[in-house]
């Protein structure tokens, strides 16, 4: 569950980290009820109006070194999204990434200092974001970020869902054994 990496020559600095925001996320059309201005207006005129573009499922992923700060940042973003009228589907946390950082002396292999850092992660999932609101949401989320935290906004994919669950090792072992033994039997034909 936890992965360890060894990095050399990492600078510790207290600056804001602002992450790149992806452009052009595919939009979906939302079927909103449209109201007539005038009772006698024909229906086809209203149905001809273009749909309001809506982003389906976006993950705002926050990563940082101090989880108290990170959690309050997540709470603030959640609050802002609710205030804006955007529906927040789910918020979750994934296990921290544990980093062991070794700083070497210049031009040598002698270890100068060693640090154990944890990179904590929190996610806020927003659903049905209207296109005109996304710009403001991103700007506000970026402005709330405390020091040492980074924000990553992306679409929710199957991999993001899979990471949250602990894999069932027994099941995987059994499946591996089955494959080693030559694959599963072909299904029997149903008796008439």
């Amino acid at each position: 569950m936890f992965s360890t990496k060894v990095l050399s020559l990492v600078k510790l600095n207290n600056t804001l980290k602002i992450h790149r925001i992806k452009t052009v996320v595919p939009l979906l059309q939302n079927n909103i009820k449209r109201h007539k201005n005038d009772l006698h207006e024909p229906d086809y005129l209203i149905s001809m109006e273009p749909d309001e573009p809506v982003y389906d499922c976006l993950n705002l992923q926050l990563k940082g070194y101090d989880f108290a700060l990170l959690e309050s940042c997540q709470a603030e973003i959640h609050r802002f999204a609710e205030v804006m009228g955007i529906q927040v589907d789910e918020c979750w946390a994934t296990p921290a990434q544990q980093l062991k950082v070794q700083r070497f002396k210049p031009k040598g292999t002698v270890v100068d200092a060693e640090y154990n850092l944890n990179v904590y992660e929190r996610n806020v999932q927003v659903v049905d974001v209207p296109a005109w609101a996304l710009g403001t949401l991103l700007r506000v989320a970026r402005a709330i970020l405390p020091e040492g935290c980074s924000l990553n906004v992306h679409e929710h994919t199957v991999e993001h869902e899979e990471i949250r669950y602990v894999p069932d090792n027994e099941l995987l072992d059994l499946k591996q054994q089955l494959e080693d033994m030559g694959g599963s039997r072909p299904e029997k034909k149903k008796r008439k």
């Binding site: 790149r20 108290a68 200092a113 996304l134 710009g135």
Partner: protein
């Protein structure tokens, strides 16, 4: 029945707000400091003991046992680096660490044309734009052409005004602000009463702004914007810019 001719005709323009975000966290104002201390006290009260605190306590117990000379003193455990030593060494390392300076060269000179000034503030790009016969310092602005979307107009306006080297990131397809003004009576050409400007927000990534005319571009903070821009225009612009807290 209202005819088309009696409706006022407006020119559609897009303005681009290129903002350089702060690089260093700004200092906290009084209320923020008080709230931060409150949150910190609450956090300390509610949380469990950390590994380091447990280690300090164990060290103290070991020390007491050593002093009282009781049996079962495990010398191996005692001769390790104590938690207090580790804390002192860490504090010393922090004291020796040199932070980069917040004031840049441009700050000392008072040079407003680079985005490398005022690292703790938001900076907005402002350019001298020709409106009719006047030359005014406002956000880069240009007219919408037939067949292109407003966002494409905004991108085009920016490359025309500042050159292709300025790298920016547009946030969304929708504009974030709006300003409407009427042309002076002598300059109402083509039946257009005035112009409607839709502002687009873009964040500055890198690159220098090179104008072919070598006109002066300035990167201004919020206060400087209020001083430089015309009154009502400034009001519309400040509405979509995030307020600074100090």
């Amino acid at each position: 029945m209202r005819g088309v001719s009696t409706k006022l005709q407006w020119d559609i323009m897009t303005g681009v707000c290129v903002e350089r975000l702060p690089i260093v966290t700004p200092p906290l104002n009084d209320m923020q400091k008080k709230y931060k201390e409150l949150l910190w006290t609450m956090e300390v009260e509610k949380s469990l003991k950390s590994d380091h605190e447990i280690r300090l306590e164990n060290d103290k117990i070991q020390e007491e046992m050593l002093k009282s000379d009781s049996r079962d003193v495990d010398l191996d455990a005692v001769s390790k680096i104590t938690g207090q030593d580790f804390e002192d060494a860490a504090n010393e390392e922090l004291a020796q660490f040199k932070f980069g300076s917040i004031e840049t060269e441009a700050d000392k000179k008072g040079d407003k044309t680079t985005p490398e000034r005022c690292l703790q503030r938001h900076l907005v790009l402002v350019a001298p734009i020709k409106l009719g016969s006047d030359l005014k310092t406002i956000l880069p602005q240009g007219k919408w052409a037939e067949g292109e979307t407003l966002r494409q107009t905004a991108e085009r306006v920016l490359t025309e005004c500042c050159g292709p080297e300025l790298k920016v990131q547009f946030i969304s397809n929708a504009p974030c602000g709006f300003y409407k003004y009427k042309y002076p009576p002598g300059e109402q050409k083509g039946g257009k009463v005035g112009a409607k400007v839709f502002f687009y927000y873009a964040s500055y990534k890198s690159g220098a702004d090179k104008n072919p005319d070598k006109a002066k571009f300035n990167w201004l903070t919020r206060n400087e914007l209020t001083e430089t821009l015309p009154l009502k225009y400034n009001k519309s612009v400040q509405e979509f810019l995030i307020e600074e807290t100090y």
